[in-house]
């Protein structure tokens, strides 16, 4: 019962702030709501016994991606401008599409008998994740590092602007 209450709190934080991200008229509010969304999702990870991933979620998303997005907000809006708002458009067709898919998925979730195994005694996941990365998933791991390197070089190259000769 207590667990359901904790889960409800985290889920409510996540969903409400996700709605603020998508529908807030002020882009700075959107960026800061994204912070609470990431925190709520990290809480859900903790409830699901993914300890290392909860920490990673906070480090990468809150410490990396969110700061990057805030940089983007600050760089692309003139801060002295009072009006930071942006209007929503095309709401009706988008709402129809989204509601149709949402209904479909809700029926699927409700009707399916999800296969589960009994949850075992909890052990730390970090060492086992590391073993998996170094054995079964070694090639994807190396390719992921290559993807990151390429993305970094590409991002610097695109954003640095024209070099004066």
């Amino acid at each position: 019962m207590l667990l359901v209450i904790i889960f409800t709190i985290f889920a409510a934080i996540t969903i409400i702030s996700a709605g603020m991200v998508a529908f807030s008229q002020n882009i700075v509010y959107s960026a800061f709501s994204l912070l609470f969304t990431f925190f709520g999702i990290a809480g859900l990870y903790v409830l699901l016994a993914a300890d290392f991933l909860a920490a990673t979620q906070l480090l990468i998303y809150v410490g990396g991606i969110l700061v990057l997005l805030l940089f983007g907000v600050m760089l692309t809006h003139k801060i002295q401008e009072v009006n930071l708002s942006n209007e929503s458009m095309r709401l009706a067709p988008a709402a129809i599409v989204v509601l149709a898919f949402l209904g479909l998925l809700s029926i699927a979730i409700y009707r399916t008998q999800w296969p589960t195994v009994p949850v075992p005694e909890l052990t730390p996941t970090t060492a086992r994740i590391g073993t998996l990365f170094m054995t079964d998933y070694l090639l994807p791991f190396e390719i992921a590092s290559l993807v990151l390197l390429t993305a970094l070089v590409g991002a610097v190259f695109i954003a640095r602007g024209r070099v004066k000769k």
Binding site: F7, D51, A55, G72, L148, L152, A159
Partner: protein
């Protein structure tokens, strides 16, 4: 510290049904989808894409927990890698576009439309 939290949570309480988590992740995914479809600010679209990626991550971890396999968590790491790369490159593109067009409204970016 996260491990102690996980341990106390899972040692003394019975787990809650799988479908609850699926409902939460579905809602987050469709909020993100609605954001992508309706908003015209490129930065908001980027944030909504992050929301959808996070919803997929929740699903991966839910099934990894209830099927007692760590492989779902491995995939979450790859999704996070791609999300970080996507945010870096996306921000660079947005800064470049802003420098050239002086706006972040995606209706203005119609150079490649014929």
């Amino acid at each position: 510290m996260p491990y102690i939290l996980c341990f106390t949570v899972n040692r003394f309480m019975s787990p809650i049904p799988l479908s609850y988590y699926l409902v939460v992740s579905t809602l987050i995914f469709f909020i993100g989808m609605l954001g992508v479809l309706t908003r015209r600010n490129v930065l908001i679209i980027l944030m909504s894409i992050e929301l959808m990626l996070n919803a997929a991550n929740i699903n991966f971890i839910v099934f990894s927990y209830y099927l007692n396999s760590l492989r779902g968590q491995i995939f979450v790491f790859f999704v996070m890698t791609v999300a970080a790369a996507e945010a870096a490159v996306g921000l660079a593109v947005i800064v470049y576009l802003f420098r050239n067009k002086n706006t972040v409204n995606d209706d203005e970016f119609s150079l490649m439309r014929w």
